[in-house]
């Protein structure tokens, strides 16, 4: 089949926009919900400020379910929920619902593990000086794990590009979907190569930008 490059360009722009929309919504969710969830799981852990076995277990359990369910299955299982939240089950906004849930769980776990890197002694010192829990979170935990949080965020964003490719199943669109449609179903290898190259560029760019931010923020 002949490739019409001006049409392809339009398709690519549209696909990129959809990918950015899906990833953007999901990443905002990761920041707004994933960080608090990660902090919560961390603080209810053993020997921590809010140590509580049951709540910690529930938190970990939910995160693990979401993370270990294949995304494609999650996508389907969540359809009724997506319908409820987004008002529709198809399109990039609808696809953002399961994507957001995955990225919240994914990032929460990364947040938790970066928080474990924070020196317990520093938390203890803050406690000894009479710091409230909120202040410990704000002035100790978050700044001390800043590099780890940033790194985790980049990993989440990059993984999302991959997950969002599957969103094509519910008509989510995006570049991954484009690559599959043209390359896999229509055997337009050149289109597939171009798209894949662009995805690689995108991911590499995100990684480099992330590394740059980490380096800039890391004053240790």
């Amino acid at each position: 089949m002949e490739t019409n490059y001006s049409v392809l360009l339009n398709d690519l722009i549209k696909a990129f926009n959809e990918t950015f929309l899906m990833c953007g919504i999901s990443l905002v969710a990761a920041l707004v919900l994933g960080i608090p969830l990660g902090i919560f799981i961390f603080l209810t852990g053993k020997g921590m400020l809010w140590e509580n076995k049951i709540t910690n277990f529930i938190g970990c359990f939910i995160v693990n379910i979401v993370r270990s369910t294949p995304f494609i299955i999650l996508l389907v299982v969540l359809l009724p929920f997506t319908q409820l939240v987004a008002g529709t089950a198809i399109g990039p906004v609808a696809a953002s619902v399961p994507l957001a849930i995955v990225s919240v769980a994914f990032y929460a776990r990364l947040v938790e593990s970066s928080l474990h890197e924070v020196d317990k002694g520093v938390i203890e010192a803050a406690t000894a000086f009479g710091a409230s829990h909120l202040r410990i979170i704000k002035d100790v935990l978050l700044p001390e794990s800043r590099a780890g949080l940033l790194r985790g965020f980049i990993i989440t964003a990059i993984s999302l590009v991959g997950y969002s490719a599957m969103a094509g199943i519910v008509g989510g669109g995006g570049i991954g979907d484009l690559a599959i449609r043209f390359g896999y179903y229509r055997y337009q290898t050149d289109v597939m190569f171009i798209t894949v190259a662009l995805i690689i560029l995108l991911v590499q760019g995100m990684q480099s930008f992330g590394d740059y931010l980490v380096k800039k923020s890391d004053k240790k």
Binding site: V122, E124, A125, A126, F129, G130, P143, R146, K219
Partner: protein, 336 residues
């Protein structure tokens, strides 16, 4: 100022529970530098941490300023902690904050306004002599400087009590010296009641007024440090002190078991110093000084001599009796 009343702390363990602190009672006076010494695992940190309730006792009570603090919670506990500074072995500074911000952090917790912080931080930095490092990050400081920041942070809010958990254990001897000097200066300048944990008698000797010796969760003895050094009551304490006041004789002396070696401890005042020469004159004996040392503890000299007496048996016996009666302590450490 700080009083422990029958404090016991038990850590539940899988097999059997472990008693880290065992029925400890004593009092730390206002304004003194109090040392807690003991080997690793003795329960020193665990006991110290009950003063600001980082550790709650399993039983017993802790009093600060005659207030029973054992069950304080929430805002009351926070208020108590604002009045107690703490210095750590590993410094525990916030790495992502500058020296200035680290100190400001402690003041912010204490509810100080931005204005107050602006004057209090430089004040604290001046006390520890690190004014020019205000904008440095902890990673760019030496161990001694980090500990100075730790101390500045602990005293910035002008607390009445300063707890130091092995403040010099991560430092080299020279830096240790200067940090101890600083702690002493701060104690004298602000009258801050200071509690120092260490496993080195040397640290105790340099700055403490009184010391509690801990082992296996118990306080073995507690006294003015001069008394502990002059007459340790436990083998364990003697072992600790021997690291500092070490009078070791070459083996050829200790092997000859038919010689008596006398260990004379004297508190170094004039009358006692004369005892030696008087003994020689009075009893017609020869005295060989094998080893000797004077330590200054809390500014008071503590002398130790190892000597051997030669002469006829009667003279030696009477000479020994004379020395025993006229010095602080005399015992035979070798011979038959």
């Amino acid at each position: 100022m700080i009083r422990f009343e029958n404090i016991s702390i038990v850590f539940p363990d899988k097999k059997r529970s472990f008693k880290a602190v065992d029925d400890v009672s004593f009092e730390i006076k206002k304004g003194e530098i109090f040392g807690i010494v003991g080997s690793s695992g003795a329960g020193k940190s665990t006991l110290l941490r009950t003063i600001n309730l980082l550790q709650r006792p399993t039983s017993g009570n802790v009093y600060v300023d005659e207030q029973n603090i054992t069950d304080l919670k929430g805002e009351d506990l926070r208020k108590l902690r604002l009045n107690i500074g703490m210095v750590f072995q590993q410094f525990n500074l916030i790495r992502s904050k500058t020296v200035y911000e680290n100190i400001a952090f402690a003041l912010k917790i204490a509810g100080k306004t931005a204005e107050e912080i602006k004057t209090l931080v430089p004040e604290a930095l001046k006390v520890v002599g690190l004014t020019e490092k205000a904008n440095a990050y902890p990673a760019n400081l030496s161990g001694g400087q980090k500990q100075r920041v730790g101390i500045a942070r602990a005293i910035a809010n002008k607390p009445q009590i300063l707890l130091c958990d092995e403040p010099t254990s991560a430092l080299d001897p020279e830096t240790t010296e200067s940090v101890l000097k600083l702690l002493k200066e701060i104690n004298e300048k602000f009258g801050i009641t200071t509690v120092i944990i260490t496993h080195e008698m040397n640290v105790i000797k340099k700055i403490c007024n009184r010391v509690a010796v801990m082992s296996g969760g118990e306080v073995l003895e507690l006294d003015e440090i001069f008394n502990v050094f002059a007459s340790p009551g436990h083998e364990f304490t003697k072992g600790l002190i021997n690291h500092t006041i070490n009078l070791e004789l070459p083996e050829r002396f200790t092997e000859k078991d038919n010689y008596e070696i006398l260990k004379i401890v004297y508190k170094g005042d004039k009358a006692e110093e004369a005892v030696i020469s008087q003994t020689i004159r009075k009893f017609n004996v020869d005295m060989n000084i094998l080893h000797g040392k004077i330590e200054y503890i809390s500014g008071k000299p503590l002398g130790i001599l190892l000597v051997r007496l030669d002469g006829n048996v009667n003279d030696v016996t009477r000479a020994k009796e004379y020395i025993r009666n006229n010095t602080y302590k005399m015992n035979v450490i070798n011979g038959n």
